[in-house]
């Protein structure tokens, strides 16, 4: 995986840049070499690069000032929330700064009457729920890193979590953002009212992976906490039967709050790690969560159990209390950590497939695992088809990383082949950048790159991410000038 070549003209000016940035963000520039090491990667730890400097603004005005400076000096920048990205979304570039938003961590307003909260981008996902739970509300998208990941990062990645099937992704739970463009101008998309007044630019920048601008404020939708939530732990004799159960449940019209499947390998890893007490004879387990009022949770649980038994379930346990529910989930939540114990290193993949392809994709993965000689455990958001194959390798073994990456790429290729996509929630980042042509033709990619030009024609924001080729945004040449008149003559150019 190649990052763009470093621009020596930028490297030469490092001292000048640091001095200028210190003037703009007085107590918020890290330039010391040793301190920069702490920022040289995100959760995709296989790739590291120290930025020229780390800049940590405290206010939106400081963000604007830094962007304006970068724009004027062609200085590259990589925005970062908490650095929890599994796809290298906030991997620094050596000839650019890392713009960290974590100091902008205030909750500005909780407006329960309008069911929303206005927060700074560095507020953690979980902190939003914590701020409103005493009043019976919560913020629904719950990525597993929610204790650390920031809402600004969630917007950039359009983060998900286990409750997406019922409650949607970040983009479905977002009402508005204030967005800083590369020249420092800040614009507001949306707000406390529904629907955009114009093009849905809010929807466009959500999932923009830090390539289009920097989020400086977020207005999120709050939901009322359901009075009851019950978890069902169901053991199946095969992956196929677990998958069929999921399909049958959905066919009845029930949409559980969450549905997760784990394979035998993942369960064995968990048994060794924290002994959650999952049924030992099962080839797969399904954890389904149902929420709502007590009466409907009971009815839905009974229906799900009936369908499970029709599909050959070996065992079905239902939680009778919040504590029991947490216990059922504890194993699933520890799955990545447990798998990580089996081998020195682990690649956590993220692809989405149509649900019906689960059994065949898992069976192909078992074959591939033998071919590559690398073990893989599977954790699967069964409700929405988002797969997390966990590939185990040892970075100390020559070529093992490349091997694991090749295995991962083949899995994603398979996802696309069966009608799915390269990434369901982790984003493209650097990790899947070179696989984009598996899903998009050159024309498809060119259209997306044209959108980038509308926001960041100098390609200063997050270089080397998402798109495999660096395309130049040629203004004057491509624009048609008819009878000497520029299109949209009154509108300013970036």
């Amino acid at each position: 995986m190649q990052m763009p070549e470093l621009d020596s003209r930028l490297l030469e000016r490092r001292g000048e840049f640091i001095a200028a940035l210190l003037a703009l963000v007085p107590d918020g520039v890290i330039a010391d070499d040793d301190a920069l090491v702490a920022y040289d990667c995100d959760a995709l730890t296989a790739y590291r690069q120290k930025p020229l400097a780390v800049v940590l603004p405290r206010t939106a005005d400081e963000v604007s000032a830094v962007l304006a400076y970068c724009s004027a000096n062609k200085l590259k920048l990589v925005p970062r929330g908490a650095g929890t990205s599994l796809s290298g979304g906030s991997l620094p570039v050596g000839d650019g700064i890392l713009l960290g938003l974590s100091r902008m961590n205030r909750i500005l307003e909780v407006d329960l009457e309008n069911r929303c909260a206005v927060v700074e981008p560095g507020v953690t996902n979980l902190a939003i729920t914590r701020a409103v739970e005493a009043d019976g509300f919560y913020y629904a998208p719950d990525p597993s890193s929610q204790i650390a990941c920031t809402i600004g990062g969630n917007v950039a990645e359009n983060s998900g979590g286990i409750h997406c099937l019922k409650y949607g992704l970040t983009t479905n739970n977002l009402l508005g953002v204030e967005f800083a463009l590369i020249d420092g101008t800040r614009v507001r998309f949306g707000g406390k009212a529904l629907d955009p007044g114009g093009l849905d630019l809010l929807g466009l920048i959500t999932g923009g992976e830090g390539l289009l601008g920097v989020v400086t404020e977020v207005t999120v939708r709050l939901r009322a906490k359901p009075p009851e939530a019950k978890a069902l732990l169901i053991a199946f004799p095969s992956i196929e039967s677990a998958g069929q159960c999921v399909a049958d449940v959905i066919a009845t019209g029930i949409i559980p709050a969450a549905m997760e499947i784990m394979d035998r390998f993942a369960m064995d890893a968990l048994e060794a790690y924290c002994a959650p007490g999952y049924p030992k004879q099962a080839a797969a387990i399904l954890i389904a969560e149902l929420d709502g009022m007590a009466v409907e949770v009971a009815a839905a649980a009974a229906e799900v159990e009936k369908i499970a038994r029709q599909n050959g379930a070996l065992e079905c346990r239902a939680s009778a209390s919040d504590a029991e529910r947490d216990q059922i989930w504890a194993g699933r939540k520890a799955a990545f950590a447990a798998a990580g114990r089996i081998a020195p290193d682990m690649l956590c993949m993220d692809g989405t497939i149509p649900r019906r392809a689960l059994a065949s994709v898992l069976s192909r993965m078992t074959e591939m695992s033998k071919q590559f000689g690398l073990p893989v455990a599977n954790v699967f958001h069964a409700g929405d088809g988002n797969l997390h194959p966990l590939i185990m390798y040892d970075v100390m073994k020559d070529g093992d990383l490349a091997h694991a990456e090749a295995f991962g790429a083949d899995i994603l290729k398979l996802c696309v082949e069966v009608g799915g996509v390269l990434t369901g929630e982790h984003g493209v980042g650097v990790e899947k950048r070179d696989l984009m042509p598996l899903m998009f033709t050159p024309d498809d990619l060119a259209q997306q790159e044209a959108v980038k030009c509308a926001f960041d024609p100098q390609a200063l924001l997050n270089p080397g991410k998402v798109f495999p080729s660096l395309s130049a945004c040629v203004e004057g040449g491509a624009m048609h000038v008819h009878h000497g008149r520029m299109p949209f003559p009154n509108l300013p150019r970036l």
Partner: protein, 368 residues
């Protein structure tokens, strides 16, 4: 007006590529049912997409289908109904095309709970303003691969590209119950709707029809759950809520979805999206001749016999925005005016798809 009506995607590409080469402006439409929204088309040639029709994929178990953009809403809904599924964003207009519904960002009373067209469009294929075909999104909900162009497609009114095929979510229809609270004034009913919206009762319809002093609450889902929630609503909020019979309840929500049946013919109608807590202020400031609140007060449909006084400024000050539905005379700004920076960005985004400005020019904003 000259009308081009291609029958295939290749013909759409051809038509637009030809127009691009000649710099001929095209007004995009499906069946033209929304031509009254926005500015009147400035283009001399219409590109009618209703010839691209038919559902090409439908997998009820996967809750997804793909249809050519010119397929009528009636055809889509009939196909989904056979499997007890629906478009959760509750669009209306039988003769409207699915592509047009998406391009006009049409959604009904369930929007505040279930999302708008933008939340249900998973992917699409389109032809841009240079005649180039491209696709975006996919057929699965969990998809963060590349920019979320489907969000941009929804509500773009044919100003960026011509959709030729769309993939959407098909969600289960549940049992539906509509409760009515009769005789309450606006100052009693609007706070009630807001309170129910913030409760775990999970309503999918919260409206108030002022000239009938009628508040309407819709609950949907599994039968036992709906019954339990209706009982809880009576216990916690309003004992006198009366369950309407199925057809009466459904009829009210159909009217709310269409809006116009609730008002006199040929009057001015504006659609105002507002933070629900500011609904009362908006009504007091704008003094409409009649109005209906939907989305727990987050949507106001306002009727004016003559012009709406400085509606954009007033609504903007309350944190919302106003869109014209119809007016007896042309209105200078049927869409909410954008500030300079957003307008400039909008222009650059349009340029990325339609650099020669041939697709529905002037439809949303005079200069774009």
């Amino acid at each position: 007006m000259r009308v081009l009506k291609p029958d295939t995607e290749a013909e759409v590409q051809d038509a637009i590529a030809t127009a691009f080469a000649a710099r001929t402006e095209l007004a995009l439409e499906g069946n033209g049912t929304k031509s009254h929204l926005g500015h009147a088309p400035a283009a001399a040639t219409a590109l009618k997409l209703s010839g691209l029709a038919g559902i090409t994929m439908y997998e009820p178990e996967e809750m997804v289908f793909t249809a050519r953009a010119g397929t009528t809403l009636a055809e889509v809904e009939a196909a989904l109904a056979k499997h007890n599924q629906q478009l959760a964003f509750e669009p209306s207009g039988d003769n409207a095309t699915i592509g047009g519904i998406i391009a006009a960002g049409i959604a009904g009373p369930r929007r505040f709970a279930a999302g708008a067209a933008r939340d249900h469009l998973l992917g699409f294929t389109a032809v841009n303003g240079k005649g180039e075909r491209f696709k975006a999104g996919g057929r699965v909900v969990k998809n963060v691969t590349g920019y979320d162009l489907p969000k941009l497609a929804a509500g773009s009114f044919g100003t960026l590209f011509a959709m030729t095929e769309v993939t959407l979510r098909a969600l289960p229809k549940g049992t539906s119950t509509v409760l009515a609270v009769e005789g309450w004034t606006a100052s009693q009913a609007l706070p009630l709707l807001r309170a129910i919206a913030g409760s775990p009762l999970d309503p999918t319809g919260l409206a108030y029809v002022v000239d009938a002093s009628l508040a309407l609450i819709r609950l949907e889902g599994q039968a036992e759950g709906v019954a339990a929630r209706a009982a809880e609503l009576r216990r916690t909020f309003v004992r006198t809520a009366r369950t309407l019979d199925a057809e009466e309840g459904a009829s009210w929500f159909r009217k709310l979805a269409k809006a116009e049946p609730l008002f006199a013919p040929a009057t001015g109608l504006w659609r105002v999206s507002i933070p629900p807590s500011r609904a009362e202020e908006a009504i007091a400031a704008l003094k409409p001749d009649n109005w209906v609140a939907d989305w727990a007060g987050g949507l106001l449909m306002l009727e004016f016999a003559s012009t709406a006084p400085r509606i954009h400024e007033t609504v903007r000050a309350l944190g919302g925005h106003a869109t014209l539905i119809r007016a007896p005379e042309p209105v200078t700004e049927p869409f909410p005016p954008l500030d300079a920076a957003t307008l400039a960005l909008t222009a650059r985004v349009k340029y990325a798809f339609d650099p020669a400005r041939i697709l529905s020019p002037g439809r949303m904003y005079k200069d774009l």
